[in-house]
């Protein structure tokens, strides 16, 4: 309504959305909030492209003899993995919610390098277009892991083009991380000390460290892979003295820490939501904050657990196994502290909180089954089975995507200035939870019974569980489509949001208008209290 009446200035306060409507004002913007929205729409598009490949896989696995040819199926799971990992999960929360919120949460007017921020989105889009070009031209069949020498010598698909796409988009990830690190170090508002930083910011700081330290290694690894594919000099080819395990080491040196790029921002979102809807400060602030850094550091020391059956030295495997167990400690600290935060809090059940419950339960299952896989003997049994698939989907989809949706709902009023329909949102959260578990829990059983991953056909005794999984995937798809519809509706027609609809703590709710103006604040924000200071009157009401 207000958008059609430009002169009704009593109603319309200038904000980052209504300041300009031309396409140039979006494609050449340096406003971190607009760039966050550019990312939000492009990432959502990639999510549905990656999801479409998953639909193809689940359809194929409906029957033991399969629907597609082996080659087609190989391409389906490869493109699903590549799109979901590199073009959805890695940028998902940092580039959207992180981009939007990190500067506001620390009281800054923008990220330290706004033009580099815009450049990162363009790199993401260029990388994505290159990868999609490879898809259109016939796809790639190496698996998202690009293992050599299959990828460097034998595959007849578009390996180099896809690798270039991933390479380019990697720089978008590096630049986002670099921007966050510098911004958090140098742009904090007066009073925003390190131990008052919202845990969302701590989580993104830890994520950025991994992006900056890990991504260059996958970049050079893909360069070496591409050169090897062109020259056939044999650097990863055992037939002429090369070492394919070296490729796996280089690949997982990034790609295991990248798993934490994908989950730490999710944990960051959960920490924010859980305090707000428990109306209680976070339990053990310092531990939750430092555990993010601990996960980032330990995450760099465990890549070898992907190589237990790859011919790595047994002693190396023992060390990697031990270190992998260590990562469970900071992860468990987070789960325990979220639970302790809810304990004796006045918990309410708005949609973001439903996603928090989903996250905590599913991440716990995903994390604990990770310990099974860190155990060398069990790993030998379940390597390359659906057990592994179920494990990392519990973390990535049950964890990260739940947190992403929870965060999108939690900050939707801030971003759009409108409220979403709570009833539909709760219904969708429930559908996602049911659909997710029906999709992936059977895969634990399938994997334990020995069904290998990446096979287009399977023995008939696995069909019941596969049908359950496919049925769950269709429910999950509905659960993802419903929010698309009502959020798009709410963006235009939803009721106007007040500045702080959840009565939440934090600069973005308390001191920045909704939606924020271009420079985020009308006055220089000053921080005078610790994060999540929900105590006081809330605590009295509760404890009575």
């Amino acid at each position: 309504m207000s958008t059609t009446l430009p002169f009704a200035q009593t109603e319309t306060r200038p904000n980052y959305l209504n300041v300009d409507y031309g396409w140039k004002s979006w494609l050449f913007t340096t406003d971190h909030k607009r760039i966050a929205l550019l990312y939000l729409f492009s990432i959502t598009a990639f999510f549905f492209v990656g999801g479409a490949f998953a639909v193809g896989m689940r359809l194929n696995l409906l029957t033991p003899e399969g629907l597609f040819a082996h080659d087609t199926y190989n391409k389906l799971f490869t493109m699903h993995g590549i799109i979901m990992v590199f073009f959805f999960l890695v940028p998902s929360i940092p580039a959207t919610l992180g981009n939007f919120l990190v500067p506001i949460m620390i009281g800054a007017r923008d990220l330290a390098f706004p033009r580099i921020n815009l450049l990162s989105w363009y790199l993401y889009i260029i990388g994505g277009v290159i990868a999609l070009t490879a898809v259109v031209q016939g796809g790639v069949d190496t698996g998202w892991t690009f293992y050599a020498p299959f990828s460097s010598t034998y595959s007849n698909t578009h390996v180099i083009l896809t690798a270039i796409g991933v390479f380019v988009s990697g720089f978008s990830s590096i630049l986002t991380g670099l921007n966050f690190i510098v911004t958090i170090h140098t742009m904090r508002a007066p009073g925003m000390t390190w131990n008052r930083l919202p845990l969302f910011v701590w989580g993104h700081y830890a994520t950025s460290l991994i992006q900056v330290l890990g991504t260059p290694v996958i970049a050079i690894t893909l360069v070496l892979l591409g050169l090897e594919r062109i020259l056939h000099a044999g650097i990863f080819d055992p037939a002429v003295g090369g070492d394919p395990v070296l490729f796996q080491h280089l690949f997982w040196f990034y790609s295991h820490p990248a798993v934490y790029i994908m989950i730490l921002p999710g944990m960051a979102v959960i920490s924010e939501i859980v305090t707000c809807f428990s109306r209680k400060g976070i339990f053990g602030y310092t531990f939750v904050a430092i555990s993010s850094i601990a996960i980032a550091v330990l995450g760099f020391l465990v890549w070898g657990h992907h190589l237990f059956v790859a011919g790595q030295s047994m002693y190396a495997s023992m060390v990697f196994s031990f270190l992998s167990f260590l990562v469970a400690i900071p992860s468990a600290i987070k789960v325990f502290n979220w639970t302790a935060t809810m304990y004796k809090g006045s918990v309410s059940y708005e949609t973001p909180m439903l996603y928090v419950f989903g996250f905590i339960g599913l991440f716990t299952i995903g994390g604990l089954t990770g310990l099974f896989l860190a155990t060398m003997a069990i790993d030998v049994h379940v390597t390359d089975t659906y057990f592994v698939i179920a494990h990392f989907h519990y973390v990535m989809v049950g964890g990260m995507v739940m947190a992403y949706l929870g965060g999108i709902h939690f900050w939707f009023p801030k971003i759009s200035g409108r409220m979403y329909p709570e009833g539909w949102a709760k219904f969708a959260a429930l559908v996602v939870f049911v659909g997710f578990n029906l999709t992936f829990f059977p895969q634990f059983i399938l994997g334990y019974q020995g069904m290998p991953r990446r096979y287009a056909h399977y023995p008939p005794e696995f069909q019941v569980l596969n049908v359950m999984s496919t049925a769950g995937a269709s429910i999950l798809a509905v659960g993802y489509l419903i929010p698309m519809i009502y959020l798009a509706w709410a963006w235009r027609k939803g009721p106007k949001a007040p500045q702080n609809p959840w009565n939440a703590k934090g600069l973005e709710w308390e001191q920045s208008p909704t939606p924020p103006p271009t420079f985020n604040f009308e006055h220089q924000p000053v921080v005078t209290e610790p994060a999540y200071n929900y105590s006081g009157e809330e605590q009295e009401v509760k404890l009575g």
Binding site: A112, A219, A233, G234
Partner: protein
């Protein structure tokens, strides 16, 4: 807010709107550049890691290849790069003192030295081409025991020095930009951040070469 920004900009050249003051902006630029250099260390680190693995696997083959490297050109290039780092430092120093002509002179000198390096590198690559030392189908090696292993070394040689050369070319482009900016009076003793940052980059690229030269050219010469 816009008004206060313009007044500030008069006193603080180069200050962008979202920073409080020049000190904060300089802190951000400096930290950003160092973080970028960390990513560069990791980028080259992947290749140094691969080098370490294969040198441990095939020490004799790797040592034998260094007899086919042009140590003379490599040594001259090392000297050229170290000297170019010196002239780069002098350019930063001149920027601090606000001496426009000296900035341009030292930047041009640095650029020339960079081009000398790249030219000599081209001469070396051409020698490798003539000797069939380019990895791939036409690769030939004089010692039949080490053909495959030597090919891996030459693969790493071209990957590492090639990546280094690409960084040199980017650096030459950046130096040219600085020269244009300096000639348009963009720098003063109050604001010369780009000179300092690109100086850091230039030194980093030099340091990479300092590691590449002994690892690729000199390993066999102790035997």
């Amino acid at each position: 807010m816009a008004d206060s920004d313009t007044t500030l900009a008069i006193h603080e050249p180069g200050l962008r709107h979202h920073f409080d003051d020049s000190a904060q902006q300089l802190d951000s630029s400096t930290l950003g550049m160092w973080v970028f250099l960390v990513t560069e260390v990791m980028f080259f680190g992947g290749m140094f890691g691969a080098y370490t693995v294969y040198r441990n696997m095939y020490p004799d083959a790797f040592a034998s290849t260094s007899h086919f490297m042009n140590v003379t050109i490599g040594a001259i290039n090392t000297g050229v790069l170290i000297f170019s780092s010196f002239t780069m430092v002098l350019a930063v120093r001149s920027a601090q003192l606000g001496q426009k002509k000296a900035i341009i002179a030292f930047l041009v000198l640095t650029l020339i030295l960079g081009c000398v390096f790249l030219t000599l590198k081209y001469v070396e690559y051409h020698e490798k081409w003539v000797d069939h030392h380019i990895p791939g189908p036409s690769f030939q090696y004089q010692d039949p025991r080490y053909v495959h292993q030597a090919q891996i070394l030459f693969f790493l040689y071209f990957a590492m020095t090639g990546m280094h050369a690409i960084h040199m070319i980017v650096g030459a482009g950046l130096l040219t930009t600085l020269i244009v900016m300096a000639s348009r009076n963009r720098f003063s003793s109050a604001w010369y951040t780009p000179v300092e940052m690109i100086g850091l980059y230039w030194h980093f690229v030099d340091i990479v070469w300092i590691f590449l030269f002994p690892l690729l050219y000199l390993i066999g010469h102790t035997q």
